[in-house]
Amino acid sequence: MSLTYLEAIREAQARALRDDPRVFIYGQDVGAFGGAFKATKNLAVEFPGRVLDSPISEDAMVGMAVGAAIEGMRPIIEMQFADFSLVGFNQIVNQAGTMYWRTNVPCPITVRLPFGGVSGSGPFHSQCLEGLYAYYPGLIVLTPATVEDAYSMLLEAVALDDPVIFCEHRFLYYHLKAEKLPDEALPIGKARIAREGRDLTIVTYSAMVHEAIEAANELSSEGWEIEVVDLRSVKPLDTDTIVASVARTGKLLCVGEAWPWGGVTAEIVSRVAAEGFGLLDAPPQRLNAKDTPVPYHPNLWAAHRPTARSVAAAARNLLRQ
């Protein structure tokens, strides 16, 4: 039996519902329909009364989750697309993100954001918002890159006593398969060395991990060994693993699908510059999407975000320095 990344998310939710009576799911079309991507397929039947369709009201969806959480529940909110979570942004950052600090009452909600681009999705169904949410105190922001992590990290997210922004990449939904679900996993907050290398470190997360590995494989045939760090969680950020990798390679390239101003890749460069400046043999580099809305047409879209080819090109430039 093989499972996709999407099926792993469905299985994690099924298990959370099975194991913990406090868990329920709330979102648009998640009930009988099973969700826009079928991430909640059959869950409404398996768990009657616990998988609830919401109106198209992202603000009230998150507010509802916050109320339920402070009343002892463990709500999972499905945003149909990450982009739509911006309508509920205020509730996420100002209500959920401040609740524990202000009141000492934990706010364990999981907000699932199907994010990132697939070709043809355009400006409002493709956004990468992890940097935006990571900016705010009080939130945990996760970006699983593998089927196994999608499963184990979603389960851990639901178990955490904090609001978790769970960024699940739409490109990976059907693209990735695993033979079985994991029995154990790295804890949230720990990055993973996705590929070992000695010449250059690529730090990335989510779908870009796979572009980076492809680029690393290409560069391997040219004699370069690239280390790829999969962040897994962008908040908290596992600075130790990043700095340790840079200590081995001396060169840093940060790759993100998000826009270039600020964000996760800039944060990593900043931390490595502060904590590991002396380890660097060349200026640290970043590769991000272009600073325009995400384009609709496949030709434009493929050039808008980093790809294995552009990652390899950026790595080559850095390796030659």
Partner: protein, 343 residues
């Protein structure tokens, strides 16, 4: 004459109505005196941040508070000192938050009107007030899922918050889920300086109820007795399972938006209209006329409250302020995932 008859043979129901009125009045008066003290402390620079008073709103506010029971949920707005006290918040916790005591419920991390205790059903507002309504919905939904029935949640907002998307989303959500929500709109004619004519174009905010499929009642917010009746009914209907109840109360805010604000924008005609009546004076007159209260009892009540407030102020002023060197600087409950100290 009526009064004599009541005194000679008080029925249980009549006695209860009298007690409810007197109870509400006590909270109104205590809130007014507490507000007066806060205004004085503000003017002498003793308060960090703003002070927002409930002058003119005590009748409505107390009516909400006394209509709720222990175990219910209350999301007050900034002018709900009376309702908070009626719901069980102490004068001490109010003062601790305004004066920044480390012993207050917000421990100096948040201040003034942004206080609460979610474990006791008192929600600490965020400034985007409409956003509190769906949080109340969430508590009520959770209780339904937990099969804990019989409690209600009250959320109070002003006329201004009805223009926000959060309000629309949340009242619609409550209606779809048929939640026991009592949503109180305190239409005090101004949102900060903006008159209702620039806020909405319907004749009355009550007109909105039909669009959401919720029950609605309008009440004269200057008349605490009418407020008690309407809120009492709305709360018990919600408790009985009749779904969300909207209450629209009309009155005039008798102070600035905050104590920093000189409300010279308030239309003098409104001040002289029935909307401009002071609910506390109306209530006092009502109780004296009914002989449910006499002048000496009123004087004793004022004396009692003055003493309570002054004692609390003196105590809070001796309490420690929060200490940045022992502050944990951790915004997450999962301490092992804290990034709070990364500079």
């Amino acid at each position: 004459m009526l009064q004599t008859a009541l005194e000679t043979k008080p029925s249980q129901e009549t006695k209860s109505v009298r007690d409810i009125h007197l109870s509400a009045f006590r909270f109104m008066l205590l809130a007014r005196l507490l507000d007066d003290k806060l205004a004085a402390l503000y003017r002498t620079g003793k308060i960090h941040g703003g002070v927002y008073l409930g002058r003119g709103q005590e009748g409505l506010s107390a009516a909400v508070g006394v209509s709720l029971q222990k175990g219910d949920v209350f999301a007050p707005l900034i002018r709900d000192a009376a309702g908070r006290l009626a719901f069980g918040e102490t004068v001490l916790d109010s003062l601790r938050t305004f004066l920044g005591s480390a012993h207050g419920p917000m421990r100096g991390r948040d201040g003034n009107v942004h206080r609460g205790n979610p474990s006791e059903g008192l929600l600490p507002m965020i400034s985007h007030l409409g956003a509190m309504i769906s949080v109340v919905n969430g508590i009520l939904l959770a209780r339904r899922l937990q099969k804990k029935l019989g409690t209600v949640g009250a959320a109070c907002i002003g006329d201004g918050a009805t223009s926000t998307g959060s309000f629309h989303e949340a009242i619609n959500q409550a209606a779809v889920e048929k939640l026991p929500l009592v949503l109180v709109i305190a239409d005090n004619q101004y949102a900060y300086s903006t008159p209702t004519s620039r806020q909405f174009a319907c004749d009355s905010l009550a007109d909105r109820a039909i669009g959401y499929g919720v029950a609605v009642q309008t009440v004269d917010g200057t008349d605490f007795s009418a407020c008690l009746k309407v809120l009492g009914e709305a709360v018990s209907r919600a408790r009985r399972g009749s779904g969300p109840q909207l209450v629209v109360a009309n009155f005039l805010r008798l102070c600035g938006h905050g104590e920093h604000d000189v409300p010279d924008y308030v239309d003098p005609e409104l001040k002289n209209s029935p909307l401009g009546r002071d609910c506390l004076e109306v209530a006092q007159e009502f109780l004296l006329k009914k002989r449910w209260l006499d002048d000496s009892q009123l004087a004793a009540m004022k004396e009692e409250f003055h003493h309570e407030i002054e004692t609390a102020v003196a105590r809070v002023q001796r309490e420690p302020a929060p200490d940045p060197f022992i502050e944990e600087w951790c915004a997450v409950a999962s301490e092992h995932l804290n990034e709070g100290n990364i500079a």
